[in-house]
Amino acid sequence: MGLISFEKRLQPPAALRVIIIFISVLLALVLAGMVILAIGVDPIQAYAAIFRGGFGSSYGLSETLVKATPLILCGLGVALALKMRLWNIGAEGQYVVGALAASLVALNFPRLPSPLLLSAMGIAGFLAGSVWGGIAGLLKAGLGVNEIITTLLMNWVAILLGSYFVYGPLKGDDGFPFSRPFCAGACLVEIGWGRVHWGIFLALGAAVLIYFVLKKTVWGFEVRVIGENPASARYAGMKIAPNIVLVLSLAGGLAGLAGFSEISGIEHRLPRVVAAEYGYTAILIAWLARTDARAVILVSLLFGGLLTGGEMVQISLEVPISVIHILEGAILFFLLAGDLLLSYRVCFEFPKRRSS
């Protein structure tokens, strides 16, 4: 019948973008709200509780920061790659090998002085993650293998590798699925507010550094141009292949740092299962932040708050944590749909009566 037709736009008005973000988030809240209602809980009450949980108390805020720390680092890892149009789906695996490498250092050199030990752990975590990302980078630059597939598949390799170590060489004596606990010197110091540890400064520092490197250096410019148009980048004399390897390595390194930060600041040992799937959430964060490092911080805080509030609501209102994941997914879903409206204009017509 053709009541609705689409017409391509030349350039979307800036105000429309903001409106679309608001409406998308609203629609996502409605959708998740319907799920909450279906469980028998009042959605308004639930959202209020989630918000209070994540942002409404000192303890809540501290927990939000705790969660935001690995999210920021993984988010940067995905955003940096995305700036060059590379999809790093492997933040999850890079996080695991980063945690693994840091654990190996922690458990094998317990007698080193703490600052040295922590630095070594951090470097190990970064290097492990960057090797993990770099492999995907080499395959893409050298053989054209799609990085979505390589980074994704390497996640499983990383998880199984971690599993092997936890049940094998690093096995704890208490029978639980964790490694031996770290010595005190291997743990990132708490700053005195809840469980918040020095990892948060690492994360914020990394974000600031990435922001300035991308904006103010020659290399940052190259990354942006290569991401935007590799053909013209080549004609301008930029080297594409080495940059692919470099960017994916750096991205992996950042996620590896996230792994180090979590096990050193929170877990104090290597768990078999990686909690909260920070690596995958990071993809959402990087996309929502449109690869801007400052926005990554903000969006990570938001998601951290949602996760914190969501955990509390699990107990207080018996709303399962998966509702938060539904909400996260719904936000992405509606924003993608909203993007369609930015590119196309919708025309409605009312059926006219045929003139004789």
Binding site: G2, W219, A233, Y235, G237
Partner: protein, 511 residues
């Protein structure tokens, strides 16, 4: 319009208004075309001619105005409805499925050949249409096997099979050789003589004067005038298009010296499929000279560009720039040696379309001081340079932060020129630099090349526009199947001689 005139019209557009964000593409345009005529729609880029025809073909809905087909008011919601009214449009970029046969492409979307397709019936019908209009097509051939001219014929057959009464062609000769253009015009005359309406969108004045019966000139979204061919000439048409007198011929000076700047000696190269693309090419471009290179696209020009710019290593031979052997140098090094490149594909290769104006200006020099100091890039200094160049080259950038793909073709070309020329290169490789540009921008680019030539830069101009080559070059070489088959001095070169050489006939080598 009087009643009798309306009755004569095949199509009538009254007061068409079309707005896009930031621009009024059609501002109350009236247009009328009759059966049995070839009607040209002439105008610069941005004049609104493509938009007007896209409204007629159902791609866009007008914001105001009315469409009448044979006197009946119509409102097309989509291209299908427009086609049902007998309107068919052949676009500059063909909508053909390369892997399919001609038959499969022609009957795409038609229901009359059944759910289980009756290919022989389709082939019969295609052959009939072919014979009727003198359009030779090979129904069983696959599209990728056909030349561009043949592919265009398939598009036309596609429309004729659907019994269109109004055939619209958008810049059809942009992709054709002179010979193919002549064949196309014969075809169009045959279609016209059968009582159909042909609307010919173009900016090429000489062709319009050749083939068309009536000409409507648009300028900045408005109709300027509709004239009969007999009542006008190229100079007047150009004036109507631009609103002022236009220099169609450039004042040329003999500034070519005998000092070679770029020499290619016995260059051999392979293409992406490892087939030989360049088979022993040698030529020189001298200081203060514009060397034109003519040839149908696909005869090695692409590989030659890549060899000179450093993107492709030749398998044999030498490239010498200003006395230095630069064979095999990377693009970065070539740029440092004083090489500038104006590519044919502005958006795909010549710029970063999604980045802003400033980023695109510094695309070549970003590594060097004063823009860079060590690892740091100074954006403020980049912005300064960008503003200065904007003034010097009179580039219209309504929003410096917006992506450059939104700029008009002419302005985008100015950005590329500004970027490439600001470093005072020794040698410029310009490929089809005025393709798709309107008269004003074309005038500017050609004047710029002429000026650079006077400033003793060496320029290699590769183009499929013979008129451009004839008006700018000091010497012209012809490339065919990877070899130089002829060299002409500008005094003796003509369209016919060039056209002939482009098809492989070897010509005299006169210096």
């Amino acid at each position: 319009m009087s009643n009798t005139e309306t009755d004569l019209s095949a199509v009538q557009l009254c007061g068409i208004i079309k707005r896009f964000p930031g621009v009024l593409a059609n501002d109350g345009v009236d247009f009328e075309a009759r059966p049995g005529e070839i009607h040209a729609l002439l105008g610069e880029n941005g004049a609104g001619k493509s938009t007007l025809m896209q409204i007629l073909s159902g791609l866009y809905r007008p914001d105001g105005g009315e469409i009448f087909i044979r006197g009946d008011k119509r409102d097309f919601k989509n291209p299908r409805e427009s086609m049902a009214s007998g309107i068919g449009m052949v676009y500059q970029h063909f909508m053909l499925v390369k892997k399919h046969t001609v038959i499969e492409n022609v009957i795409l979307g038609l229901k009359e050949f059944g759910f289980v397709i009756d290919y022989s019936k389709a082939e019969e019908k295609i052959k009939r249409v072919s014979r009727k209009y003198g359009l030779a097509v090979e129904p069983r051939a696959r599209i990728w096997q056909l030349s561009v001219g043949q592919q265009q014929r398939v598009e036309i057959v596609k429309m004729l099979l659907r019994d269109v009464s109004i055939l619209i062609l958008d810049e059809p000769t942009a992709v054709l050789t002179p010979q193919e253009t002549i064949e196309l015009f014969t075809t169009l005359r045959a279609i016209r003589d059968r009582g159909k309406t042909v609307i010919f969108i173009s900016h090429k004045l000489s062709e319009v004067m050749d083939i068309c019966d009536r000409i409507t000139v648009l300028r900045k979204g408005r109709k300027v005038q509709t004239v009969l061919k007999e009542e006008t000439d190229e100079v007047e048409l150009a004036r109507m298009m631009v609103g002022r007198d236009v220099m169609l011929k450039i004042e040329r000076e003999l500034t070519a010296t005998l000092e070679p700047v770029l020499s290619l000696e016995n260059i051999k190269a392979r293409d992406d499929r490892f087939l030989p693309a360049l088979r022993d090419i040698s030529f020189r471009v001298h200081r203060g000279e514009i060397l034109g290179m003519a040839g149908v696209s696909g005869n090695g020009q692409k590989e030659l560009e890549e060899v000179i710019s450093g993107l492709r290593k030749p398998t044999g031979g030498q490239v010498v720039l200003d006395g230095k052997d630069v064979t095999g140098f990377s693009p970065g090094r070539m740029i440092r040696e004083g090489f500038a490149y104006i590519p044919e594909d502005r958006l795909g290769v010549g710029c970063a379309p999604g980045l802003d104006y400033t980023s695109n200006i510094i695309l070549k020099d970003y590594r060097l001081p004063p823009l860079a100091s060590g690892v740091f890039l100074s954006y403020p200094r980049a912005k300064e340079l960008a503003s200065a160049l904007r003034r010097d080259y009179e580039i219209q950038v309504p929003d410096p932060e917006a992506p450059v793909r939104l700029l008009s073709g002419g302005n985008l070309q100015k950005v590329i020129l500004a970027r490439e020329l600001s470093s005072r290169p020794k040698f410029i490789l310009a490929v089809h630099p005025t393709r798709g540009l309107d008269i004003g921008a074309t005038e500017y680019v050609r004047g710029m090349l002429e000026k650079l030539k006077r400033e003793r830069t060496a320029i290699l101009l590769i183009s499929e526009d013979l008129q451009e080559l004839l008006s700018l070059s000091d010497r012209i070489v012809v490339i065919y199947e990877g070899e130089i088959t002829a060299t002409f001095d500008r005094r003796e070169a003509t369209m016919e001689k060039l056209g002939l050489s482009m098809t492989g006939r070897r010509g005299a080598v006169i210096d």
